[in-house]
Point group: C2
Amino acid sequence: METLIDKCKKLGLKLTEQRKIIVKVLSDSSDHPDVESVHKRAVKIDKRIGIATVYRTIKLFEDNNLLEKHEFKGYSSRYETVRENHHHLIDIKSGKVKEFRNTLVDAMQKQVAKEMGYTLVDYRLELYAVPVKNRSKK
Amino acid sequence: METLIDKCKKLGLKLTEQRKIIVKVLSDSSDHPDVESVHKRAVKIDKRIGIATVYRTIKLFEDNNLLEKHEFKGYSSRYETVRENHHHLIDIKSGKVKEFRNTLVDAMQKQVAKEMGYTLVDYRLELYAVPVKNRSKK
DNA sequence: GTACATGCAAAGGGTTTGCAAACGG
DNA sequence: CCGTTTGCAAACCCTTTGCATGTAC
């Protein structure tokens, strides 16, 4: 499996100390962090990293399809490394994000667009939900 | 059918000149305008309307479930009067928004959330697409 | 009359940018 | 080396807010 670093090298991106650290933070994060979180985590490794650099690096990665941006309702932009297609369920109690796949819906949306005279380029499917109360627990 | 004005009255909202104008603009708009557009259209009717009032009125309506906010990728927030459930296809060439319904998908998402141990509160389904090239035209 | 709504301008959040200095290939 | 990247602070955009004034009920 190709790592983020590998992808950067393949693209010929200059690997500065800061970028290496940001790559590490992103690779180690599975919680769809926002820029501020990435910055905080990066600063723990090396405190000389400015937030502007984080913004610039994240945008660079996004433009090169290494990162995907999500703008969930009520949150600032959050990021994850590009992987297979999936959608998100946002736990509106905790802000945690769960992933799921639904290829049937994927196919349906392509069809819907087609029927409307469009070619689907991208689509967003996000569920906002609360945990079911667990009746078995006392 | 109940108009926006009717709903305002029912809620006991004070009907100022500005609000009446904003209601008129919203009722006359089917293009999911953003705040700036609403303001521009309102100012054409009465130039004394400040954008802060538009922001405040729109938020008031949103909080009272008269308006629905959409944050489409790449646009500032856009609004429409609350109606039956439907989803949006955004023409990324023109910025135009088309609506569609898909009750099957609605049901499926509720089920998906349930299987993940959640109760669905809300969901977002947005298609980003481009018009199909029309081969019949020369 | 009184509580609420308004316009203005200032402040706010999140993000971007200009610049001189630092650095990677 | 030389063009790119960085940190900093200022600028930016969209939105919210404090305040004195105006207005609906």
